[in-house]
């Protein structure tokens, strides 16, 4: 167990160094940072001064080591556009995205798993067919259409829920949460449903097909032959086996959502990471882009590690080594 963990950790570090290298190359070769930082019509001397101040006159390797050192200490440079440290910029946007994604994932799992099980147990029932077709529509509709429809119905026509923003926020240290105010919670509903819809369909279909597989396995037939109660066979013996791939997919989906919830965030004017990223691409705000790359890399490495560890908890076959 400990060996597995340390091997995973070492691999994670290697991946992170590689990602850092890519981020560094981006920093150095995508456009000329100096040109975008100095005022228009600056003299060569002024430009050189900025260049030296940024450390861009040193050899490439020295710059990389320098960059690596900065990354490790949490210094991701200064945004060209906002002239603020990128780290604090990211941190200010992170809670918005994380809260949105967490709510969406909980929603998707708590609905997707039971629906998937139901569709697997009663594949020909009316309810199963209805769920299947409904989610098919859900998965085929682009996110922005879903989002706009929801806004139209619940915000514009019925006026039940806000159409944009995070509502009132409560500060908990550095973290600004929307969970603790009514308007914050209300604001979460529409965007999280929009974001969850695709995930829900994915999880439901995955659980359904896995469950169908597991139900035809010998050990489930053997469980029936032992006369065990149905609810126990389905809910315990079969479901646990069927959930293995769900863990992987959910993990990757969470990463995907945090990094690229851009469309939903744009539709709902959600002040999260996605908006920061889209703005950075348009500007081009290279330090923000590089930091974003690093952040996404870090996120996926962490998620993969957590998924692997979860796997060893669920599946004893992976524990023995």
């Amino acid at each position: 167990m400990i060996r597995l963990l340390s091997v995973r950790l070492l691999q994670a570090i290697l991946v992170m160094v590689a990602v850092t290298a890519i981020a560094f190359v981006m920093f150095r070769f995508v456009g000329d940072p100096v040109a975008s930082m100095v005022r228009e019509g600056a003299t060569q001397a002024e430009k050189d001064a900025v260049r030296v101040a940024l450390g861009l006159d040193k050899p490439v390797l020295a710059q990389f080591v320098n960059f690596l050192g900065q990354v490790v200490t949490g210094d991701l440079g200064t945004s060209y556009r906002y002239q603020q440290p990128v780290t604090s910029l990211l941190l200010s946007r992170l809670p918005a995205t994380l809260e949105l994604v967490i709510v969406a994932t909980v929603l998707a799992l708590s609905l997707g798993i039971p629906l998937g099980v139901l569709c697997a147990l009663k594949p020909h029932a009316f309810f199963s067919r209805l769920t299947q077709s409904a989610t098919l529509v859900g998965i085929s509709m682009p996110t922005f259409v879903t989002g706009l429809l929801l806004i139209l119905i619940f915000a514009v026509n019925l006026r039940w829920l806000p159409s944009s923003g995070r509502g009132d926020l409560v500060d908990i240290g550095l973290w600004q949460t929307g969970f603790l105010s009514l308007s914050g919670l209300k604001s979460l509903i529409l965007p999280s449903i929009t974001l969850a819809l695709f995930q829900l369909t994915l999880i439901m279909r995955l659980v359904r097909s896995e469950m169908i597989d597991v139900l035809s396995s010998d050990y489930i037939r053997f469980a029936f032959a032992r006369g065990l109660p149905r609810t126990y066979i389905y809910g315990q013996l079969a479901l646990r086996n069927a959930l293995m791939p769900v863990v992987t997919v959910t993990g990757l989906q969470i990463g995907q959502l945090i990094a690229f919830a851009i469309v939903t965030e744009t539709v709902f004017q959600w002040p999260g990471m996605g908006l920061l990223f889209t703005n950075a691409v348009g500007y081009p705000d290279v330090p923000v882009l590089a930091a974003y790359l690093l952040f996404v890399g870090f996120l996926f490495v962490m998620i993969n590690m957590i998924v692997d560890i979860l796997y060893t908890f669920i599946d004893p076959r992976l524990r023995t080594r």
Binding site: V7, Y219, I220, R221, F222, A223, A225, R226, G227, R240
Partner: protein, 570 residues
């Protein structure tokens, strides 16, 4: 056993039907009568599709929809089944009827401990407290003879060997003191040595606890070993039923006679196995033309060594980027020769490395040491086209060996065209037709897809495909172990006939000693990656030298040996 004992199972005129999509019904079991008394082991024998497993499922209430009991009665321990629900009032599967499945590798849930799987049933049916259940689980583990039972309770299925897992399955079946156990091919997936132990365990359970056992099997040796009575089924109907001795030594029904005759004997070598021959004039003509086709390779004398393997070693286990290499030595220092026109056998239990040897010779695995010399060429990782052409292989599972999207003609013609043995596709298809006829299939079979054929027919097709490139060595890896006995007998006869074509040599791999005895000229016995004994077949079977060979021979269940012994002692 007295006549007054109430039978634990009494089946009268049972009829099981499956309504088909086209409105017809498939009758899986028709008019079956069967009685089992306490302590009796009743074997239900038949080939695949005979309906024997359906009987077991029906009495446990496990028939898969839309299958249903259409008529007749099943009485378990005096209680009769309700035909409408398919269940018996007062009889609970798991409590009153225990089940043992075929494959211990898949019948236990991989994510739960042995203890939890053993206790589940007791908690549900006997309403024991978890402490009582655990105590009983421990008793059961001891009863079925698992070493270190205390520790093994906390193990997961993957930490146990196949034999231990089957013992756990048996313990689970016994957990609630059932009066009847349905054992569906309980030893088919096990090695002979483990099989012998499990059979003894089942016999002891019947004798000591008075459990009635319905033993579903296709293996006559197993029947001879432990069954008191036997019922032979064909196409859902009983063809013969009686005491094991009567049925096995003097079968009356013609089908029973053929079935028993098709079992390859381990004690004598027959020229051909006595099954109805499929040799028509068409087959013979086709074989003659196959002989002409490969006439060019028929050079060299019969004693010439075709394949020479020296000190072969194969290691598995890769080197990860960060992981330390863990190496498994699958084959260690194996040497043997195969001569022209010879069938050379490799026999051993699962995991002994026999398939690895075959795969290495075929070029599917690369050896880590040693040499393979084939017709004067040393074989390594990369091979000449001509070498690959002369080495062909027939695999174990005919169901996965054929491409389901290719018509049979195309599947057989493909290698012929690849090795440019025919000048165009039309000629290659003509060759394919001849080959199909040579293996005893109608020439128009080629227009169909693999799914239209039975397992035995598919294996014939696989053989035809292997013969297409006109090989000089045919590697057969367990070619008949997925097939029924009568089909096996036909295929073994076919392979023998084909060997006579154009000096074809064969490397024949099997775990079944009886099959080896029927097929091979010389045999090597493998154990743990090494050859422990190599000699000509008759010597090996009549005067085995190595302890392990003697052990294998002693444990192999064999009808004539057991029946012969009983007849002698009577």
């Amino acid at each position: 056993m007295t006549e007054t004992t109430r039978p634990v199972l009494d089946i009268r005129k049972l009829r099981v039907e499956y309504p088909l999509a086209n409105g017809n019904t498939l009758t899986a079991v028709k008019d079956l009568d069967l009685t089992i008394r306490p302590g009796e082991i009743h074997a239900l024998v038949g080939e695949s599709g005979a309906g024997k497993t359906t009987v077991g499922n029906a009495l446990m209430g496990l028939l898969q929809a839309p299958g249903k009991i259409a008529a007749g009665s099943i009485t378990i321990a005096g209680k009769e089944i309700n035909l409408r629900t398919g269940r018996t009032e007062g009889i609970v599967p798991g409590r009153d009827v225990g089940a043992i499945f075929q494959d211990p590798m898949t019948s236990l849930n991989p994510l739960f401990t042995v203890e939890s799987q053993l206790c589940e049933g007791m908690l549900t049916h006997l309403k024991l407290s978890s402490r009582e259940a655990k105590a009983r689980a421990l008793e059961l583990m001891k009863a079925v003879g698992i070493p270190e039972p205390e520790r093994r309770l906390g193990s997961y299925p993957h930490q146990l060997s196949g034999g231990q897992r089957q013992r756990v399955v048996i313990a689970t079946a016994l957990a609630c003191n059932p009066q009847l156990i349905v054992a569906d091919e309980p030893t088919t997936a096990l090695d002979v040595s483990v099989q012998a132990q499990i059979l003894k365990l089942i016999r002891d359970l019947a004798d000591e606890r008075g459990v009635g056992v319905l033993l579903v099997t296709h293996n006559m040796g197993v029947v001879a070993e432990i069954a008191d009575r036997v019922t032979i089924m064909q196409n859902g109907a009983v063809v013969e039923s009686g005491s094991t001795r009567e049925v096995l030594t003097a079968p009356k029904a013609p089908y029973a006679r053929t079935l028993i005759a098709a079992v390859p004997p381990i004690d004598t070598r027959l020229d051909r196995l006595p099954v109805p021959s499929e040799e028509t004039q068409v087959t013979l003509d086709a074989r003659a033309s196959v002989r002409r086709m490969s006439a060019k390779s028929e050079t060299g004398s019969r004693d010439e060594v075709v394949l020479s393997v020296r000190d072969l070693a194969v290691e598995y286990g890769g080197r990860g980027l960060l992981r330390k290499a863990s190496v498994f030595k699958a084959v260690r220092g194996v040497s043997f020769d195969v001569r022209r026109g010879e069938i050379f056998g490799l026999v051993g239990e699962s995991g002994c490395g026999k398939t690895t040897v075959a795969n290495t010779i075929a070029g599917l695995v690369t050896q880590s040491a040693g040499s393979i010399d084939f017709q004067g060429t040393a074989l390594g990782g990369r091979r000449e086209k001509s070498i690959r052409q002369s080495l062909q292989m027939v695999f174990q599972d005919p169901y996965s060996a054929l491409n389901p999207r290719l018509r049979i003609n195309a599947a057989i013609a493909e290698p012929i065209l690849f090795y440019k043995l025919a000048s165009n596709a039309v000629e290659a298809r003509q060759d394919a037709r001849t080959l199909l006829e040579a293996v005893g299939l109608p020439a128009d079979a080629g227009a169909r897809f693999a799914h239209a054929f039975s397992g035995g027919q598919r294996q014939r097709i696989a053989i035809a495909r292997a013969l297409g490139p006109r090989p000089s060595l045919l590697i057969c890896d367990e070619p008949t172990s997925a097939l029924d006995v009568s089909v096996q007998a036909q295929l073994l006869n076919l392979l023998k006939d084909l060997r006579d074509l154009a000096g074809l040599s064969m490397l024949f791999i099997s775990h079944d000693l009886a099959v080896i005895r029927q097929m091979c000229d010389r045999v090597a016995v493998m154990k743990a990656g090494q050859i422990v004994e190599l000699s000509d077949t008759e010597t090996l079977f009549t005067a085995p030298k190595h302890e392990y060979t003697r052990e294998l021979l002693r444990l192999a269940p064999s009808v004539e040996r057991i029946m012969g012994r009983e007849l002698a002692s009577a």
